[in-house]
Amino acid sequence: MAKQQTEVRDLQEGSYVMIDDAACKINGYSTAKPGKHGSAKARVEAKGVFDGKKRSLSQPVDAKIWVPIIERKQGQVVSVDGNDMQVMDLETYETITMRIPEDKDVSPDEDIEYLEMEDQRKIV
């Protein structure tokens, strides 16, 4: 999986992080003052990019953590078939099949933006 390592202290709201092996977008970041003998801790609240599930973690700020590398790509809808659509990547011209989100309405020839990490994709 495309990912890189960083320290918890370098995370921020709006960026990505791996929690429970899932790529998540951070929507809450708070820090706790260290106790007498402990190191400062950070708490991250995040939402799965591809599954929408809420997750959190609490770690010392100097702990190492993985950040997923998510590509933002341009595509064009080639055809729509029920809940699925064929999308052509406008850079590589590769055609892929994607599930149409319930809250989206797409039609052929429409340009879309989507996030991609390995074989997981999501329309922005």
């Binding site: 809450g28 708070s30 820090t31 706790a32 003052k33 106790g35 708490r43 609240e45 809420k54 959190s56 609490s58």
Partner: protein, 288 residues
């Protein structure tokens, strides 16, 4: 650890269970904040006192025919408090939100009343029901918007989900607080009204189909029953009246706290606090 609960960190309890072996229905979190107490301090010892003075209680509840240790209560331990109250509340809210995300009910052991703000932010209820001697409706006390004397005002103004506040047992406040209490989103119920034999919670608030958060400031009790609190106020509620309110609200509540217990008595306040927490759990569990 709260007696009958399971240690979230896996040390187990008398029943030999660990957190992994039970699905948490309730999560106890100690919040020993003791920063803005205005008269007698000591709420930093509240969670420890409540756990200690709950030890003699029987595991079995005759009224609901339930064992406390079978109800999926997990003790997270205390969330260490520090002087930056805003940052602490944010951190505490996150811990409580984990419980909410796991479909469990957070049970907060205060700590000064300010910690209720974190609980309400985590739960996002529609109604905040509170047992309290004081209105806690100051906009700021001594310039501090996060004073324990301003917590109900903060909940009204800062938590968008809260439509209504009901304070039972209130018997004192400043003139400005009483003026704020006249607004439509606040209902004050005096100790005398609560004491009427015909009184029920449904007389003052409709909880059907609405989510509630129940906060018990132990000073709602008459100080003769709970002297171990920071700002005692005579002519308060009887413990049995508080118990009836807790039983009535618990089935509708998705969050609970008991706050303002300190170490300045022989355990009366902590004992009452622990018992009311257990009443909440028994009533909430038996209604599910």
């Amino acid at each position: 650890m709260f007696p009958g609960a399971t240690d979230e960190h896996g040390a187990g309890d008398a029943a030999g269970q660990t957190a992994d072996s039970v699905d948490a229905n309730f999560v106890v979190v100690g919040a020993p904040l003791d920063v803005s107490t205005t008269f007698q301090p000591g709420t930093r010892f509240g969670p420890r006192r409540i756990r200690t003075f709950s030890e003699p209680f029987d595991d079995y509840d005759y009224r609901t025919d339930q064992h406390f240790s079978n109800l999926g209560v997990v003790d997270h331990g205390d969330v260490h408090a520090w002087n930056d109250v805003s940052a602490y509340l944010e951190w505490l809210k996150g811990t409580l939100r984990d419980a909410v995300w796991d479909d469990a009910i957070p049970l907060v052991l205060g700590g000064e009343h300010t910690v209720s703000l974190a609980g309400v932010r985590a739960v996002e209820p529609e109604v905040f029901v509170c047992l309290d001697a004081h209105l806690d409706l100051y906009d700021a006390y001594d310039g501090n918007e996060l004073s324990h004397a301003a917590v109900t005002r903060r909940i009204l103004e800062d938590v968008d989900s809260v439509e209504e506040v009901v304070i039972l047992g209130a018997r004192t406040g400043s003139e400005l607080e009483w003026e704020r209490a006249d607004a439509d989103d606040v209902t004050i119920v005096s100790p005398e009204t609560v004491a009427e034999p015909s009184f029920t919670v449904s007389d003052v608030v409709d909880l059907e189909g609405r989510s509630a958060y129940l906060s018990v400031d132990i000073d709602a009790a008459d100080p003769g029953y709970a002297p171990g609190t920071g700002t005692t106020e005579p002519f308060g509620l009887e413990p049995r009246e508080m118990r009836e309110i807790v039983r009535a609200v618990a089935p509708h509540a998705s969050g609970f706290d008991v706050v303002e217990v300190n170490d300045r008595d022989d355990g009366q306040a902590a004992s009452l606090a622990g018992k009311l927490l257990r009443e909440f759990v028994f009533s909430a569990a038996s209604s599910q």
